[in-house]
């Protein structure tokens, strides 16, 4: 069969085939191996992803256009009604506000702290492994346990912090009533869990920075701060972008902490700390309106994609300017 094909293709106008010697069967296999094998090796991931990731995403889109009955597994088509409802729902906009507020209150301090901690761990300190593993400890604690610990801190009446404030003659903070205090409390839980984790990733990037860069900078008279901003930060930029994007995705999906923040788990009597994921959960699992929940899921997905791209663009622009990538490109060209 292959021979017949060759014969029919042989009298083609430009004769490139003549220059190349006809490949043997083995060589063909070899080329196929080089070209196809990588795809084959990543195929398991993509097959699994298609089943547990892609399919649910598409199916969610299908459900989002219907009035869906989870139990009977059927729905009636309602067009964009679910989306229209969600976008007009006061609760959705409140939850969006809460999500961004909690995201900013958690991600920004968390990344600054993580970078700082990583820079400190990168220094010559005693018992390195101990400190490095120590910062990861909060990550190992289950979110539910974190919520338990922090609910002791942030109790409205008998919480530790309010007791301290009281001792100093300061007014108590209504952690579970006022909007911003509740966001700060939840952001604290998120930070507690994720700061060390991000610090370790950034530390790994910092350790890969060639030490001679620092030596050169030191000889040029750069102080510690200058070396950090002009050497460390630009060098860990790709990692920083990665960390920022993952924490954006995580921050916009924050769920465990607000859900565990009080015993009812619905985001507060006046939706004070109801995040979008919690709103989604409530619509789906409390109100049994899965069409609407699917619509929220898609809206959230689009928001996260948009925000992730925005973050990517911003961090690429602002961290260490444009110099680094251009240089790299030139080098490649030469």
């Amino acid at each position: 069969m292959t021979t017949t094909q060759q014969q029919t293709e042989a009298p083609s106008p430009r004769e490139p085939q003549r220059r190349r010697a006809p490949l043997t069967w083995r060589q063909r296999l070899g080329r196929l191996d080089v070209k196809l094998s990588p795809y084959l090796y990543i195929a398991p991931f993509w097959i699994v992803f298609a089943i547990v990731g892609l399919f649910p995403i598409v199916y969610t889109a299908v459900i989002s256009f219907q009035d869906w009955d989870l139990v009977r597994n059927q729905g009636t088509l309602t067009g964009f009604d679910n989306f229209a409802f969600v976008l007009q729902d006061r609760e959705f906009w409140m939850s969006l506000r809460n999500t961004f507020s909690i995201f900013l209150l958690s991600s920004v301090p968390q990344l600054i702290a993580a970078t700082f901690i990583a820079a400190m761990l990168d220094k010559n300190i005693r018992a390195k492994t101990f400190w490095r593993m120590g910062v990861l400890l909060p990550y190992v604690v289950a979110p539910v346990a974190v919520a338990l610990i922090f609910s002791n801190l942030f109790g409205d009446k008998y919480g530790l912090i309010n007791t301290w404030l009281n001792d100093f003659g300061l007014p108590k903070i209504a952690w579970h009533v006022d909007v911003i205090p509740s966001h700060i409390a939840i952001a604290t839980m998120v930070n507690f869990r994720w700061t060390g984790y991000n610090a370790l990733i950034l530390l790994a990037a910092m350790q890969a920075i060639p030490r001679d860069l620092y030596e050169a900078a030191a000889i040029d008279g750069a102080g510690a701060a200058r070396r950090f901003f002009s050497v460390t930060l630009p060098q860990i930029r790709p990692t920083l972008i990665f960390v920022i994007i993952t924490s954006t995705i995580g921050g916009l999906q924050v769920f465990d902490e607000p859900r565990m923040y009080d015993t009812r788990g619905n985001g507060g009597s006046n939706h004070q700390w109801e995040t979008v994921t919690l709103y989604l959960y409530n619509e789906g699992w409390v109100n049994f309106n899965f069409g609407r929940a699917a619509a929220i899921a898609w809206i959230l997905f689009l928001i996260i994609v948009a925000f992730g791209l925005l973050n990517f663009a911003i961090t690429r622009r602002f961290i260490a300017g444009d110099a680094a990538p251009k240089k790299a490109k030139k080098k490649v060209k030469k």
């Binding site: 139990v71 409205d156 008998y158 006046n270």
Partner: protein, 445 residues
């Protein structure tokens, strides 16, 4: 003396148990065989080996090994398997009712549920909307096994009974004896019961007396009392005939809202969210003096206020009230519906309900079980040796209403709870909260 007495009761109970098993086994097999031969013609199916799965949550008091509880007096699962050598039971226990709920509704349609699934009264109304997917268990032999309101709540529009009642949560009033003493109020349970006997105004009046004397809050939060008040309405939020939302037009709902917000305005509500840390600490610290108190709640008080001094008043404002309780259902698409029915039937029979009560204090929904010695002689040392068994039997009999809970019940009740909490925390005035409730409810329809 108490030891020997316990031994004899144990002996009698054990004797009764074997008898009960024998009886249950007999009735089960006979009815089953007849129905089998009548419908499908298979004979002797009862001896064929069958594996049944049973799924519950928290602690139903069936088997200590699966429920992770302390030593139970009885292992009902083992008892059933001993009496039915062909039956093997796989018993799964979910950690919370919420986990069980999600699992139940995810698999109810497509299949994959256990042969016998426990459901909680809180999500029974949701399950009732899919009653056609659950096996109809009505049987003349079950008539009178449960309290009427327990059965009524699990009977759908077509008259199909879809769940076997297990335990119930009849409510009394528990009060902090020291706090009452401090306020100069009666402290003897019978006197307190007499003071509260009547409608809810009596409850709020006593609260005002208490508040005037001590300056402290009387009850934990508005939403907690709402639970007791709303449960006494036949049709609180929806019209039973067509499931339309009536919450905003129902004068009784507005009246309850007004009574509660007035009371919290007068300082009767401590505004401590139920089950929160502050609420638990408040129970020990005397931040509030009374709480609506179902049978299973006694352990909660003992746990939260171990050094406290609380007592049970055999009374509930405006009649009776129920808070909590569960059922066993048999999904209709299961592989062993008949055998599963037998198991659920046996587990909810009066004898086994009484044993589950002895195991974990799950108050029986069967009057016969409630009248058993085990329940009637039951006392609670923490509550000044109150005769809890007798009190709650009376409280259960006082419940007359089984409120209609339609497809929007929980969303509306949630909106109501939110509104009341917003008043409790000072986030909104009563008027603003009612308007919020109105707009929340309007968004539902």
């Amino acid at each position: 003396m108490s030891l020997s007495r316990r031994k004899t009761t144990f002996g009698i109970a054990a004797g009764a148990a074997t008898l009960a098993i024998a009886l249950a086994g007999c009735s089960g097999t006979s009815s089953d065989n007849s129905s089998d031969t009548a419908t499908t013609g298979t004979s002797g199916s009862n001896d064929a080996p069958v594996t049944l799965t049973l799924a519950t949550f928290n602690q139903f008091g069936y088997s200590a090994s699966s429920e992770g509880g302390a030593d139970y007096k009885y292992d009902l699962i083992q008892e059933y398997m001993d009496a039915h050598p062909n039956v093997t039971i796989t018993y799964n226990v979910a950690d919370t009712s919420n986990t069980a709920r999600e699992n139940f509704f995810t698999k109810l349609g497509p299949g994959g549920l256990a042969d016998v699934e426990a459901i909680e009264v809180d999500w029974l109304p949701e399950a009732m909307q899919y009653s056609d997917l659950l096996a109809d268990i009505s049987d003349p032999s079950l008539d009178g096994r449960w309290l009427d309101w327990k059965t009524q709540a699990a009977t759908d529009k077509d008259g199909r009974l879809i769940a076997y009642g297990t335990d119930i949560g009849p409510e009394a009033i528990c009060y902090n004896v020291d706090a009452f003493k401090e306020a100069g109020l009666p402290t003897d349970p019978t006197e307190v019961a007499a003071a509260l006997d009547g409608d809810w105004s009596k409850f709020f009046d006593l609260g005002k007396q208490y508040h005037d004397a001590t300056g402290k809050a009387f009850y934990e939060e508005n939403a907690a009392v709402l639970q007791g008040m709303i449960g006494q309405l036949e049709a609180p939020y929806e019209n039973p005939s067509d499931d339309s939302i009536t919450a905003l037009d129902n004068p009784e709902v507005k009246s309850i809202f007004d009574q509660l917000t007035t009371a919290s305005g007068e300082g009767l509500s401590a505004g401590l969210q139920q089950w929160g840390d502050d609420w638990a600490a408040g129970m020990a610290n005397g931040d509030y003096a009374v709480t609506l108190c179902p049978a299973w709640f006694l352990g909660v008080i003992e746990g939260n206020a171990p050094d406290g001094h609380w007592d049970i008043a055999n009374v509930f404002p405006n009649g009776g009230g129920n808070w909590g309780g569960s059922y066993l259902t048999v999904p209709a698409n299961g592989a062993n519906v008949d055998a599963a029915k037998d198991l659920a039937n046996w587990l909810t029979a009066p004898e086994q309900q009484a044993k589950a009560f002895e195991n974990v204090g799950a108050f029986p929904s069967s009057p016969e079980a409630a009248n058993s010695d085990a329940v009637q002689t039951y006392t609670r040392p923490y509550f000044n040796n109150a005769e809890a068994g007798k009190i709650y039997t009376e409280r259960a009999a006082a419940v007359t209403v089984s409120p209609y809970k339609g497809s929007h019940y929980f969303q509306i009740n949630d909106a109501m709870v939110n509104a009341l909490r917003n008043v409790d925390t000072g986030t909104m005035s009563a008027d603003e909260a009612w308007k919020q409730f109105q707009s929340d409810v309007k968004a539902l329809s």
